[in-house]
């Protein structure tokens, strides 16, 4: 089967920085791809690039390709892109309060999408809005529809955002940290809902997150980003069993969440020293300044992605897996 979205060599450029560089990934129909990274890794900009909503100061490099359902999105006319946005590609954001219009009822906000894209009449749109609220499991939707955003809890607002996003049955939903602002019990509900909708509506989901725990349970495939580059890609099981990139390894061992029964009296957590360092003017591996395995040669050029095992990519030549024998072929993506 051909993939739904294929990103090739995506580079996002500002005057003084390139926060995303040579990023390639693809996602199949009704698949969940997780993009994991810390703030500054370029994951959110990537999402905006897919929506063609980058800030005006940013530009996508000429050699970048974003192909969605066979159509090339880079260089697409603004009008055509508008047509695609909300209808075939939808997006939800981290903070549902600021993404909803505070002076409009949630019903109107949902109906508006339907009226714009599906050309529904006001009454039909309202009926459909109630159905959508039901779909996202909001109790008493016929009453809730006339509420304003501030009358709803954070979890409810995120559900409304999801309702708006899936209103036109998009083929791809980009969820940018959809649960970061929510409590853990609510987070589980929202992720549950997203996954159910993915199956019911047969849409693909790009889940952008910094939370490795979320990734493990909800994604089909994981891309780990660091300083604008993809440093590792794997199936979640493989990634957690046997992380290959020193950064992924560092993250997994630094996380108290993934080290059960470890207490401060037992010793300190493993740290990754320093903080995310962008590769502006930096030759070589972007993770080198924080890496415990860095060698002199890491400073010479950016390590290419290699294929250490089936369905895996890693951008570190010195990684040794405890399980798989490193593949000799050095493929460049």
């Amino acid at each position: 089967m051909t993939s739904l979205l294929q990103v090739d060599n995506l580079t996002i450029r500002f005057t003084r920085a390139e926060p995303v560089r040579n990023l390639s990934f693809e996602i199949g129909h009704s698949e969940t791809l997780a993009i994991v990274g810390e703030s500054g890794s370029g994951k959110s900009l990537t999402a905006l690039a897919l929506m063609q909503l980058l800030p005006s100061a940013a530009e996508i490099a000429a050699e970048s390709r974003i192909s969605f359902g066979g159509r090339e999105l880079t260089g697409l006319a603004a009008r055509e892109m508008r047509h695609l946005r909300g209808r075939e590609i939808a997006m939800i954001f981290q903070e549902p309060m600021t993404s909803l219009n505070p002076v409009m009822t949630i019903g109107r906000q949902i109906a508006e999408v339907l009226m714009v894209h599906e050309k529904l009449s006001g009454r039909a749109a309202r009926r459909r809005a109630i159905e959508l609220l039901e779909l996202v499991r909001i109790p008493a939707p016929d009453k809730r529809i006339d509420d304003y955003p501030h009358q709803l809890s954070g979890g409810m607002r995120q559900r409304v955002m999801i309702a708006i996003a899936v209103a036109c049955k998009p083929k791809l939903l980009i969820a940018d940290e959809p649960t970061t602002a929510l409590d853990v019990t609510i987070q589980a509900q929202v992720l549950d809902l997203l996954d159910t909708l993915r199956r019911e509506l047969r849409m693909a989901v790009i889940l952008i997150t910094h939370d490795l725990g979320v990734v493990a349970q909800w994604a089909d495939n994981v891309v780990v980003m660091y300083a604008g580059r993809k440093v590792e890609q794997a199936l979640p099981g493989d990634l957690f069993d046997d992380p290959l990139h020193p950064y992924t390894r560092g993250l997994l061992s630094a996380s108290p969440r993934l080290k059960r029964d470890f207490h401060y009296r037992d010793g300190p957590l493993t740290e990754i020293p320093g903080s995310i360092v962008s590769a502006v003017g930096e030759a070589g591996c972007p993770f080198r300044p924080r890496c415990n395995q860095a060698r002199a040669s890491c400073g010479h050029h950016v390590p290419p992605l290699i294929v250490p095992a089936e369905d895996r990519l890693v951008a570190c030549p010195f990684t040794t897996s405890s399980k798989a024998v490193p593949h000799a072929a050095s493929l460049r993506f």
Binding site: E38, A188, H210, R257, R260, P268, S275
Partner: protein, 314 residues
């Protein structure tokens, strides 16, 4: 005598929706050298509780005693001596530092206010603490926005430790930080605890962080403590259905995915359900739960639970 003891503390606010019972009858004790973790979802009142303990928010009722001394009604002036001994570390390292002061100014002011030595002595203290929290020595001439989130949190920790406090209230100190930075800050807090013999009241929504960091854990729901136990007991034998749900909700790669453990939202603290305040979301709720508020009972030595069914849950 415990370092901090709080009994039947209530903090109520007037709001547009009526009386907001943010903290609604909390008892807690922090012993010397102990780290007490306080876990709960946003809106459960844990932050307000932390601020009330410091008298940054005025309590409505109850008693706060620090080293046996009642500080509940002390006026702000006579509180000043206590302020030295109880400090706070904030969640948002961006908001908790005055953007218009250099790090040197930020760190010097507490020493001036508490008359800790002349200028030379103050500089000495500041450079000492700056080195201890792992900041470069030239930091003191820089402004907060020149630092990354992790570094700012180090500055916040330096400020809190400057006056050699005995108790530090940490309000979500790592929640705003990236994962790779969280471990650095947690390790620093542990190190500081050892170095200065600190006690912590560690407030967090993140169970895994509390699990690593706390000696004893309190679980808070809608203004009340619903379960209290030492760390190991709580994780091996949680008795309150809410505690269990919180644990199950944490995504864990080692475990297959399961349905969300809890439905519904946290009710508003201005409209607390009658009976057990958790019954609206509790999968085990009975009629008794709907009408009678459970007592905070001891189910095992050092393990208390506010649930009618606690003895049946294992």
């Amino acid at each position: 005598m415990p370092l901090l003891s709080v009994s039947d503390l209530k903090t109520h606010y007037k709001s547009r929706d009526g009386l907001l019972r943010a903290v609604d009858g909390v008892d807690l004790v922090v012993e010397r050298g102990e780290t007490v973790g306080l876990v709960g979802e946003s809106g459960c009142g844990k932050s307000t509780l932390g601020k009330t303990v410091l008298r940054l928010v005025e309590p409505t009722a109850g008693r706060i005693a620090f080293k046996g001394e009642d500080i509940t009604t002390r006026d702000q002036k006579s509180l000043r001596s206590v302020r030295k001994s109880i400090q706070m570390i904030f969640q948002d390292p961006y908001a908790s530092l005055n953007p218009r002061q250099t790090i040197g100014e930020i760190l010097e002011a507490p020493l001036i206010v508490h008359k800790a030595g002349d200028r030379a002595r103050r500089q000495q203290v500041i450079s000492g603490i700056v080195a201890k929290v792992g900041l470069p020595a030239d930091s003191i001439n820089r402004y907060p926005h020149e630092f990354s989130g992790g570094q700012r949190q180090r500055i916040g920790i330096a400020r809190a430790l400057l006056l050699s406090p005995e108790l530090v209230v940490c309000d979500e100190p790592v929640s705003a930080l990236d994962l790779s930075i969280q471990a650095q800050i947690l390790n620093l807090l542990v190190e500081m605890k050892k170095e200065f013999g600190l006690s912590y009241l560690f407030i967090s929504h993140d169970l895994s962080v509390v699990r690593y960091f706390a000696d004893r854990v309190l679980v808070m729901y809608l203004g009340r403590i619903v379960e209290s136990a030492d760390n190991a007991t709580l994780w091996s034998d949680p008795r309150h259905p809410y505690t269990r749900a919180l644990m199950d909700a944490v995504p864990d790669p080692a475990r297959p995915r399961q349905a969300a453990p809890l439905g519904g939202d946290l009710p508003s603290p201005s409209d607390i359900p009658t009976g057990c305040r958790f019954h609206t979301r509790c999968p085990l709720a009975t009629d008794l739960c709907r009408t009678h508020e459970p007592e905070f009972r001891t189910v095992a030595p050092g393990h208390q639970v506010a649930c009618h069914l606690a003895s049946h849950i294992h």
